[in-house]
Amino acid sequence: MSNQARNPVIAGPNDDIGEETRLALYRTQVVIREAEQRAFDLFLQNLVKGTSHLSLGQEAIAAGFAVAMQPGDLSFCTYRGHAHTLARGVPVEQVLGELMQRDNGLMRGKGGSMHLTSEQHGVMGSYAIIGAHLPIACGAAWRAQYRGDKDVSVCFFGDGTTNIGAFHEALNFAAVWKLPVVFVCENNLYMEYTPIGDVTAVPHPAADRAAAYGLPRILIDGNDADAVYRAAMLAYEKARAGKGPSLIECLTYRHSGHSRADPAKYRPEGELERWKERDPIKVYRERLKQFGISDDAVSAIDAEVRRIVDEATETCKAAPDPSMDILTTDVYADGGFAWRN
């Protein structure tokens, strides 16, 4: 499907994206921003337990890639996966419910923040062992290639992942087998607490390595949802045409620490403020204005999303704890956990 067919409303003479898609990109970013901010607030109230890894500041990447997808395309996420899960349309209530360890959570409390999965939305899991899901995405893409299915597997990971062996194995494997998989590196400048540049042999941990797999070097502004959307569309078209994988490095910045335990004091003074000038949602509000979309339309989206997140929060607060009935279910495919007779 071409961009034009997907987006019949064209807002300006040089606009390849269109108003309908622009509003979807904006709304998706706001859903992520509001839900992530709420997750942080609920953590401060001790209502979100365990760990959590927020995507505040990185919303444009999740939104751009998800909005460019077609139904049936598959997302493979890391433990920093709330954003990608929400971007595929998984209800906020189910995500917050899982973070709050309630029975209404996506996995009813069995998975937690780092393993959000909703296969019916194409969210094929959030993987908390660095690098594990790159080969897994290759396998899903292999199935598509083998069966002649037209879906694309899209695999999101951080800059730190580029230094683990599974990254190299998966990139080479995908390139040799010409698999319909798109690897998306969200370079937020820090692996966990350490700057990625301090531990990596090249300045751009993904883009500078693309040549090693015979792939073009793609480095984009990850805080501009339009740029992300365009790069995604090109990569998906290439994958669907049987022309193999893409590796895309998106430059971005996380506004919070690595995880909820991290106040991010290792960042140089002023760095966060400079990046907040380029906050993806701020950038995108300006963009909408340039294309003549009214403040009222934008405010209506903001209010609608806020209401959804507020309602989801109340629903989750009222939801029961996980049921003990599920403690031993689904270890094996027969539904139980029996390992002996």
Binding site: A132, P135, V331
Partner: protein, 326 residues
């Protein structure tokens, strides 16, 4: 009925399942055009073609990860890890990904795949190409673990593993590849989680797995002919699911139990089974539960040294005789 080698039985089992189900695909290092480094997959590439039988780079994480992604989305992959020792370089998939995805996602994610791997000593390959590591996998909730001892079981259990909806680690013993056995004609499908009494007896139960099965059988023959001790030999075959009923039933009859394990002693599979017997059949016992294992040391390469540490027919005979005599 035809006589097949254990190695040819592997190819026959895979071919049987690939011919039956187009969702069955096979990948691994040197498995396609070369027919496998142990020649256990000869002919599959020619029969099923390059889309279904695929050579991979030396990338064990990519092999197992790709198998998982394919399994999650509808295929039934068989992945080969050439030597079971190499499971250590892709253990994330064995320990964290395959077995936990279904549980963590509250039943959403499925993982119907088989990992075949060459296990065990006898080839004089030294400490990193000779280990018996079935116990590494037995301890992980969510996996199934199988280790056949003869060609007919290879075909039947491999077919059962491919058809099973859970991830199955299928340990083929490298030293059994050249051994021969009768294999019935036609389709063979066995049942996971079933042990087999290969030799009935009344005086003691001997539990064995894979290469230790023929040794246990030979020891039982000698114990009968030379010492008048009548042993029941059970091929455990499947560690998970575990057929404890067959084992407990045998112990209730013989009142003595021995395990013959190639894995190193600590946390070997026999330890778990013996603890079950101690819990559930203690008052049936007339003597100690005895584990005959490889000691807690890495495997040496030289033939004399390797032979000296694996359980042998002599060691089995000696331990059973001394224990029953005491």
């Amino acid at each position: 009925m035809a006589e097949l080698t254990y190695r040819d039985a592997v190819a026959r089992g895979i071919a049987q399942e690939m011919a039956r189900d187009p969702d069955v695909v096979f990948l691994g290092e040197d498995v396609a055009k070369a027919g496998g480094v142990f020649k256990a997959t000869v002919g599959l590439y020619e029969q099923f073609g390059p889309l279904r039988v695929r050579d991979t780079p030396i990338s064990e994480q990519a092999i197992l990860g790709a198998a998982m992604g394919a399994a999650m989305t509808g295929l039934k992959p068989i992945a080969e890890i050439m030597f079971s020792d190499f499971l250590a370089v892709c253990f994330d998939y064995i320990a964290n990904e395959f077995p936990k995805s279904r549980y963590m996602t509250n039943g959403q994610t499925k993982c119907p795949l088989v990992v075949r791997t060459g296990n065990g000593a006898g080839s004089r390959f030294g400490a990193q190409h000779s280990q018996s590591v079935e116990n590494w996998c037995m301890m992980i909730p969510g996996l199934k673990v199988v280790a056949p001892s003869n060609p007919a079981d290879v075909v039947g259990l491999l077919a059962a593993a491919v058809r099973d909806p859970d991830p199955v680690i299928f340990f083929e013993h490298k030293s059994l590849y050249p051994t021969k056995g009768e294999v019935p004609d036609g389709e063979i499908v066995d049942t996971l989680g079933t042990a087999k009494i290969l030799r009935p007896g009344k005086d003691a139960t001997i539990l064995a797995l894979a290469l230790m099965v023929p040794r246990a059988l030979a020891a039982a023959e000698r114990l009968a002919s030379e010492h008048g001790i009548d042993c029941e030999v059970i091929d455990v075959r499947s560690l998970v699911p575990l057929d404890t009923q067959t084992i407990l039933g045998s112990v209730a009859k013989t009142h003595h139990c021995f395990s013959v394990e190639e894995n190193p002693r600590l946390c070997g599979w026999g330890a778990e089974i013996m603890s079950i017997i101690a819990d559930e059949a203690f008052y049936e016992l007339d003597g100690p539960l005895v584990r005959i294992t490889t000691p807690h040391i890495p495997l040496p390469a030289a033939d004399l040294l390797e032979d000296a540490i694996l359980p042998t027919v002599d060691r089995i005979v000696d331990r059973v005789r001394r224990t029953l005599k005491a």
